[in-house]
Amino acid sequence: MEKRKVWQEGAAKNITFIVTKDCQLVCKYCYLVGKNIKERMPWEVARQAIDYILDDTEQFNERSVVFDFIGGEPFLEIDLIDRICDYIKCQLFARNHPWFDSYRFNFSTNGINYHDEKVQRFIKKNLRHLSIGITIDGTPAKHDLNRIYKSGKGSYNDVAKNIPLWLEQFPGGATKVTISSPDIPYIKESVLHLFALGITEVNINCVFEDVWREGDDTLFEEQLIGLADEIIEKRLYGTHGCSFFAEHIGKPLDRKLQNQNWCGAGMMLAVDAAGYFYPCTRFAQYSLRDKKARIIGNVREGIDPNKLRPFLALDRCTQSTDECIDCEVSSGCAWCQGENYDAACTPTIYQRSTAICRMHKARVRANNYYWNKLYRKLETEGGREGFKKTVVNVIC
């Protein structure tokens, strides 16, 4: 199956409103170390941010725009979001802005209040310009291992009941699954469970934090090989996608020709409740364990272009060690600039964290197995030629 193209990929500016730092859940792997109920975005801050962005068509000159709303849980602030989206639409029209009819609102939600009347009203009003991803981690056991309420109760049932409505409104909707060390034994059954729920695209990745234990890579590889067998045996490869398996990963990369940065921090823009701008939400204080927030401006004075330069100048080799530069399986080995910054031994974005190394290598082995097995099968059945290459992976 072919991956759905991310809307206007590359040509669109991503602008993220951190509307709240509150969430109903306290997921164990959540990188948001500073979640709280106090920091809700005031309307005035949102309005100033929008005016600043729409005023400056020279700086924000991309063909299209994706407005992301994140939290905590963004739908906790549905009234504010509705007001923001209405204001954006009115302003785009009033200003005859190039983004008029070339904008999108995007949400990653935990899905708990997806059925809520106000949320539903908002969805119906904006459906044509909306993408929503619901995070569901897999089987009830896997999901409830991490995605729990403050009381300790799992959230699976409350999310799963909203999946049919979501898939009806967003056919082909994708979900994002995050794997941490304790989740490994559940990977295979979880992905298959999500497929069974009707979700045909599962974007899944290992967390970038240094959480991995001895033996995790072997277990991970076993799970992926088991999953590969199932996908091939049940012939799901033509209709379903799991981002763990991607043909381009696990190859060496050229120092010069394949020297691009992986992560999009700096091309994106995030704004928080206090009106500060960040190169991505991962650089806001509530996302950082050990470092100071990387503020690049604010809604009153605008963006300081000097603070963006290090992000835009980043390339793969300058931030990597020789081991990574010369690595035989480096393609697809991802990083998150925010995690790099947080884990670095100085306050720099130029030190790549490699906590994921063994997990990537395990993924590559399982991925090679998958493609060898699949192509052999297609070869023997005479269907290889017609088979379209599958998904590319998505990290954030």
Partner: protein, 313 residues
């Protein structure tokens, strides 16, 4: 490779570079600390540069200082026997004793406003010096109109050099114009890589500015050695904007980098544009000197974009 050790003799030691030292409380380096620094320099083959405050040091210090090859960086008020004399604009205007036979290097720390309104005084000062190093102390505040003014000022300074040539046999050197003509490769400050600073508290710092700004930001000491984390980021190879640049004379000030972009390896737009205006003015000067038969084999190619960050690879 490490080549220089800068020793700040006192907390009030004169600034010879971009940073401001507003400390007025004296704290002289301990004699043992000074000896430890000198021993470190000897063991690592480092040339020492002592940076003086504006008062006479005790005799015991003078003896220890004379125990190693060195340069003395001194404020104008103590300029006797200095290798480098640091002036501010007011002092440069007032010093009428200077003559071109003195082989010392002069550092003139100047603000953009002083330079823009007083460039004729600077030319006068330049003509009386052998080598002048101009340090604009507030390049980070340059705006578009300042770049335009700076370009004009540079063209005045540039014409002063051939004029001085008529009056003397050799040309005075002005860092921002002469250095680029002579250099074949990058010659940046290289703090943290080629030089390290010993502060009066007995600890190493990447450069004096890092000490003045945050005493906690130390980088080892003579007993334990230099401990700069992510030291590779101070080198040209790890500076993605600078490594494709040919403003060879640029200081590539990593302290300013950190201050303006939050990364030691990434320069600000202002640092790049000022350095490129200087580079282009050096090119004009070189063309003039070619006509007079100087530097026939040197060439600086023409470029129009003033910020390598904006160059497409």
């Amino acid at each position: 490779m490490l080549q220089y050790l800068i020793i700040l003799l006192d907390d009030t030691s004169v600034s010879f570079c971009h940073y401001r030292n507003t400390n007025s409380n004296r704290r002289l380096i301990a004699l043992d600390g000074l000896k430890a620094g000198i021993l470190f320099a000897m063991k690592h083959n480092l040339m020492v540069q002592f940076v003086y405050p504006d008062y006479e040091l005790p005799e015991s210090y003078a003896t220890v200082i004379e125990s190693i090859d060195h340069h003395k960086i001194k404020p104008f008020s103590l300029k006797e026997d200095a290798s480098v004399v640091v002036y501010d604009y007011r002092e440069a205007v007032s010093d009428q004793t200077l003559n071109r036979n003195e082989k010392t290097t002069l550092v003139l720390r100047i603000t953009k406003d002083e330079l823009f309104s007083g460039y004729e005084e600077v030319i006068h000062f330049l003509k009386r010096s052998n080598r002048l190093s101009l340090v604009i102390t507030d390049t980070d505040t340059f705006r578009k109109e300042d770049f335009d003014t700076y370009k004009k000022v540079l063209s005045h300074l540039e014409s002063a050099i051939p004029e001085a040539l008529k009056e003397n046999d050799d040309m005075p050197q002005l860092n921002i114009l002469s250095d680029r003509i002579q250099l074949e490769k990058m010659n940046n400050c290289n703090a943290g890589v080629e030089n390290i600073t010993l502060a009066p508290n007995g600890k190493f710092y990447v450069c004096p500015a890092f000490y003045i700004e945050d005493e906690n930001d130390s980088a080892g000491n003579p007993a334990e050695g230099i401990t700069i984390s992510n030291r590779q980021l101070y080198t040209l190879a790890y500076a993605p904007v600078c490594r494709k640049c040919d403003a060879y004379h640029c200081k590539r000030c990593i302290w300013l980098n950190k201050k303006t972009t939050l990364e030691v390896n990434t320069p600000s737009h202002e640092q790049c544009v000022t350095a490129h205006l200087e580079r282009n003015a050096s090119r004009n000067l070189l063309n003039e000197l070619h006509a007079k038969g100087f530097f026939p084999n040197k060439e600086i190619r023409e470029i129009t974009c003033l910020d390598p960050f904006e160059w497409k690879e």
